[in-house]
């Protein structure tokens, strides 16, 4: 085990260590369809969508300290827009792109009003806007299909003029599309958070007043953050439409906004990998609990209460703070003795 201890010892090597984990994870995702059934792939796709939604929430919560109860609204914008476009006969890419663009536009417009507020009032105004979108999806029957929603959305093929045309009807095919899209999206977010823009977001979270005194407009930066978050929620929704092939108003209800919040809390809102970890755990947890008992809401509620009261950093936070140092010292001990 000395080689493991040596790796953990050197600071530089921990970067490689993380890269190895990441590589293994991606390889695992890619070879999964070879030996797993459709149901499992379907679950992973849902995890990926929840993951994007969680990143949307986490961007606002972990980086600018604002809890939004309305991300479901942008999720719905992406889903309905993509759904309508696909129903009109377009291929997959235009559907996804238009879904994201519609969500972005909605985010810019609504964001203009939302970002003036902080804390409680931000939560409430995002709730209000989210529910307005909910009533629209329910009542604007001509456009959204009302309570029945959009039905029979085709899982359009991924085509680019006449250059290629990949059919997405099978689960594995669409699975690859979602995985690749999600990974690219997460990578982009990673770059953003480590860029000057990301530094500004961190500054806002750290000390908002100081940020304007270094010459940066807090409002503008917040709006950008809000729009990016809206786009990620929209992407999640756009990916959902061809997957489920049905979109109903429940995607915009504020209760839907709570799934990514819980996933983020579970995984850890102060770590970049929190949303991924959180989404996976949340799904697995839900799956397991539902098989054992009908009372999964109760168990989920209790878990959240425990998390909020004690493990506020979620799984990743607790891991970093408690387990990792212990693991490192154990292995270092092993290296000394062995």
């Amino acid at each position: 085990m000395t080689w493991l201890a040596n790796i953990l010892n050197l600071g530089i090597k921990s970067y490689l260590f993380k890269l190895v984990w990441l590589g293994a994870f991606i390889i695992f995702l890619f070879i999964l369809p070879l030996f797993s059934g459709d149901y499992f792939l379907y679950m992973i796709m849902q995890m990926a969508i929840l993951c994007l939604l969680s990143y949307s929430v986490n961007l606002l919560l972990g980086n600018t300290g604002l809890l939004s109860f309305g991300q479901a609204g942008f999720y719905a914008c992406g889903a309905y827009a993509c759904g309508k476009v696909l129903l009109a006969g377009a291929s997959l890419l235009p559907g996804i792109i238009i879904g994201v663009v519609v969500a972005a536009i909605a985010a810019i417009i609504l964001g203009f009003f939302c970002i003036r507020h902080t804390a409680i009032y931000f939560a409430m105004i995002t709730l209000a806007f989210g529910m307005m979108i909910f009533s629209l999806t329910q009542k604007w029957v001509d456009f959204t299909g009302g309570d029945d929603g959009l039905l029979g959305i085709p899982r359009a093929s991924l085509s680019f003029f006449n250059i290629f045309n990949i059919k997405m009807d099978t689960i594995p095919a669409y699975y690859y599309f979602i995985i690749v899209t999600t990974l690219i999206a997460i990578y982009i977010l990673y770059r953003i958070l480590n860029s000057p823009l990301g530094l500004i977001f961190q500054g806002i979270r750290d000390s908002e007043t100081r940020v304007s005194f270094v010459g940066i407009s807090v409002k503008k930066s917040r709006l950008i953050c809000f729009t990016i978050a809206g786009m990620y929620a929209g992407l999640a929704g756009a990916l959902l439409a061809p997957l489920e092939q049905t979109i109903t108003p429940s995607v915009s209800h504020w209760i839907t906004s709570t799934d990514p919040i819980i996933a983020t809390l579970l995984g850890g809102m102060y770590n970049f990998s929190g949303p991924i970890v959180g989404s996976v755990i949340y799904f697995l947890l839900k799956d397991i609990i539902v098989r054992l008992t009908m009372n999964w809401m109760l168990i989920l509620g209790i878990i959240i209460i425990i998390l909020v009261l004690t493990f506020r950093g979620g799984v990743m936070g607790t891991f970093r703070a408690y387990l990792l140092p212990r693991l490192k010292s154990r292995l270092r001990q092993g290296a000394k003795n062995g």
Binding site: L199, I200, Q202, V211, S212, F213
Partner: protein
């Protein structure tokens, strides 16, 4: 040199029934280190807040080189070349020292919307940051978390953030408070050097008379929201009213 770079006209600000600033006309000449002194509650910090966009005045205007900047927000003021440091420390406690200095530079060098490459990729930002941190002797501490620095280092960093955007006029609110004599001396050296290079006009609020008289070319004395008297250090030192106001203080 010697032209009025920033001035206020009949500036007034009240908080409820309390008039903090009462119709004052301030003038700051470029190239001269001006100090604002006065007992606690005289309105010095409020004046700076009004001049830098942190507060809106009830009445009156502020002019920067003949441009009306009364209604500008703080970030707009910074872009015009007006910066400040804070009396109650206002660095970014959870970011590293380097990141603290990078933030004002992003705005200066127009890099706030860059989203793909890491900050260090931008050479102009990296070089400027290094230069500033070297000046403040904080370069070897650049990866430390700012909140963990010693008080003197934090104050130095605070000042670094104020001068990073290459301002024309920089307000320092009690820059040497809480520092030991060594730290105080090095900060004073820095201020003197930067002022001599002609790049920044400093306006300093201070209580330490040694600092004031060794640095200032012009002193404004405030009391109860009004300007009591202003003039060159020697004049102020001998002014009877000032001595009265500072009863017990060594002048």
């Amino acid at each position: 040199m010697d032209e009025v770079i920033l001035r206020s006209e009949r500036l007034t600000k009240s908080f409820g029934k309390f008039t903090a600033i009462d119709t004052i006309d301030l003038k700051f000449k470029s190239g001269i280190i001006t100090s604002i002194i006065g007992p606690n509650g005289a309105g010095k910090t409020t004046a700076i807040n009004l001049l830098t966009g942190a507060l809106r005045p009830d009445k009156g205007k502020v002019f920067f080189k003949d441009k009306d900047i009364t209604s500008l927000t703080p970030d707009q003021s910074v872009k015009h070349g007006i910066t400040r440091s804070f009396q109650i420390m206002n660095i970014f406690p959870m970011l590293t020292v380097l990141q603290n200095v990078e933030l004002p530079l992003l705005s200066l060098l127009g890099k706030n919307l860059k989203w793909f490459y890491t900050v260090s990729r931008y050479r102009d930002v990296a070089e400027e940051a290094e230069k500033i941190l070297m000046e403040l002797s904080l370069w070897d501490k650049r990866d430390k978390i700012a909140g963990e620095l010693s008080h003197g280092d934090q104050r130095a960093l605070e000042m670094g953030m104020a001068i990073a955007p290459k301002p024309e006029i920089c307000f320092l609110d009690e820059p040497s408070s809480g520092m030991n004599p060594l730290e105080r001396a090095s900060i004073l050296e820095l201020i003197k050097r930067l002022a001599k290079e002609g790049s920044v006009t400093f306006v300093i609020i201070e209580h330490d008379m040694d600092v004031i008289f060794s640095l200032s070319g012009w002193i404004i004395v405030m009391n109860k929201g009004k300007v009591l008297v202003e003039g060159e250090p020697d004049q102020i030192r001998q002014n009877k009213e000032v001595i009265e106001v500072y009863l017990g203080e060594e002048v």
